[in-house]
Amino acid sequence: MTEKTNPKPEETKIGVYVCYCGGNISDVVDVEKVAEKMREHPNVTIARTDMSMCSDAGQSIVENDIKELGLTRVVIGACAPSLHEHTFRGTVARGGLNPYYFHHVGLREQDSWVHSNNPGGATEKAVRLMYAGIAKANLLKPLDMIKLKAERHALVIGGGVAGLRAAYDIAGRGINVTLIEKTPFLGGRMAQLETVFPTGNNAREDLHSLINEVRTHPLITIHTLSELVNIRGYIGNYDVQIRSQSRGVSGDNAEAALAACTQEVPDDFNYGLTKRKVVYRAYEGCFPSTPAVDWEHYDGKPIEIDGQKVIFENKKKTFDLRIGAIVIATGFQPYEPPRGDYGYDELPEVVTLPQFIRYMGLRDGNVGELTWKGHPVRDIAAIHCVGSRHLAGVHEPQPDGILNNYCSRVCCTATLHQVNELLDEYPNINVYDFYEDIRTYGLEHESYYTEASKNMVRFLRFHGDQRPEVAAAPEGDTHPVLVKGKDYLTNGLEIEVPVDLVILAVGMVPRPVDDLVDMMKIPKGDDRFLLEVHPKLRPVETPVPGIVLAGTAQSPMNIQESCNAASAAAAKVSVLLASGQVELDPFVAKVDLDKCTGTGDCIEVCEYEDAIVLETMTVEGNEVQRAVVTPANCSGCGNCVSACPHHAIDVQGWEVAHYEAMVDAITMEVEL
């Protein structure tokens, strides 16, 4: 695609396009005025505006102008370059120009959206930034992408439903997958559910059919008890190090060890409602079926198996893999209220929704009457939004200083689904549902609310800053607990409901993954969930090329949404790795051999192995030393650029001269 001749700056024919962004820019910036000013520039052949430059119609205008007017450079002022720079490079290439003859100026996030209080200033700033863009465009050189071999091997981190779905979809396209799961068993949180909305299917049955597909797929390798501990490299060529713990027991002695083990700890699968042994299976039917030792809690004492004393040993091993792309599917954990909040952890009659689901699952069929801690349950209160939708100034931030101000999305439907299931079995129980808003979003999910209404669930509506209070009932009361609050369906009437059980519809928080965030340099949002590049346009990609997100690691999602996201992540990975080759932007150092005298200052400051070296070459009959860059090893950081005393090195596409020209443009006075 590289053109043979590069026009001199004064000879360039530039097409300039200023986007309205459907009003997002033009509501503040006088877009027509900006285009008018651009027409005054001697190198500008055409300056146009358009409602939406990224639309097919907008892009066609640019393509046609390149062909018909012989444009040699294109400058577009629009949304953030992170969103559409790539799109427009494609547009320019389709018009027949080298894609690096394009410069993108951000006029939305960095102008109209931050200067709504000063439209005149915003317009002037737009002109200034566009002139700077033209100044850079004038100096652009044609570049070719760097093509590198990509490893056709993906790493999926997390073996919940999202990770499993992503692994299976990627493998289905003929790409090798390594799936690592931190715990000894696959399935994540979905394994802890019973029947699930919207199908009413048994969660573990659905999960197991997916697990079976994953574990029998010839291209998928599963490592449980495994974590990523190191990562280097870049898209197509990540070198990862994985550390695995051993299960502690195997084939021959596994069942005997499980039977013989006597040390017990709270069972995290049942959210502490029961106890389990330290040699354990998460649940009957789990995968892998071999039990594992709970290393965190095992006291190290010998266990007698078949007359022999055995001490379990955690033989950790690390291994390296070369990976092309990575899916992060590390999931969520249910919010745990602090002790005393809504009586949690103080009153035995207060449970979280996940605990309640486990409790119902643990029963041995319908036992006639529902009991809790030996007492019959006749009246239940469900309280929504526990740990979600917190308000600044009303609720305390979490211990990390962050306020859980987001809606956890799944809890409304999950609560009403559980309540309906309960009332199907026990129609005589009274349920009082304390909610702020009912958010049973999703196709036909409203039916959970209408069904609950038909089931005579009493809905009581609180305001976010006046949440219900839970307290022990006075001695001798008919019920052990009182839920008090104001009901805004009856004009804020003070109410007091005596109940036998309180279910807290707790929200979702992301599993702590700070180690991954630090290693991979991926961003987290204000809510601690992992952040995508753009919620609408690039919803599963992180800013780090080749690293994508799947499922509830990114935000609260139900199973269907988690699988949708996982399939989208898998599609991204498949497209990246399908050809076995990735193309990288050619933004690497380039030495001007006419200026280089071989001082080696560049090599001193370069932190990348073999990125730049001194080589012996012959110049005008003399043997000399000159700096030579290996593009595949160069990061394009530019350390060497400021070190060279002869200005002999630049980073392609980001040259110092570009910045000097842009500063010239910025310091000119703009008259509108």
């Binding site: 961003p523 950081c637 006075e669």
Partner: protein, 146 residues
């Protein structure tokens, strides 16, 4: 275009890394928070590429304040932040020699979601420039402008 050097309000140049300040500035935009229009944000991969000469020339051309919004410890480039700090330090010395107030150059670590730190840096630079005035006046005082 009108190539004069008279300045109505101080000009702030923000050199912002794609992995830090530039993404942070986009985030401020997504939140629709306001700051002053005398700011020109230029994306950079890593500011370690800028030599003292570049900064000094920018001041001589009429940039009143420069904020280098780098990625600090979040930088994807090994050694980039350290080299940036070295270059900024060198530039402070040169500014001192030339009589350019060193408050005109600021190095700040800004992350992709650092909306408050971003606004604080812009506001503080505006405050500083209101106190110390235009760079061209300062250079004229030093007799460097003739």
């Amino acid at each position: 275009m009108n190539e004069t050097t008279t300045t109505k309000e101080p000009k702030i140049l923000i050199l912002a890394t794609l992995s830090g300040g530039y993404a942070g500035a986009d985030y401020v935009g997504q939140q629709h928070l306001n700051y002053t229009t005398n700011t020109s944000i230029l994306p950079v991969r890593c500011p370690s590429m800028f030599s003292t000469e570049f900064y000094i020339q920018a001041f001589e051309k009429g940039i009143d304040g420069i904020i280098v919004m780098y990625s600090g410890t979040d930088s994807p480039f090994k050694g980039g932040p350290e080299r940036t700090a070295v270059m900024v330090d060198q530039t402070y010395k040169k500014m001192g020699e030339l009589g350019i107030n060193i408050k005109r150059l600021k190095l700040a670590a800004i992350c992709t979601v650092c909306k408050k730190p971003f606004l604080k840096q812009v506001n503080e630079m505006n405050k500083t420039l209101n106190e110390i005035g235009f760079v061209q006046d300062e250079l004229a005082d030093q007799g460097k402008d003739k």
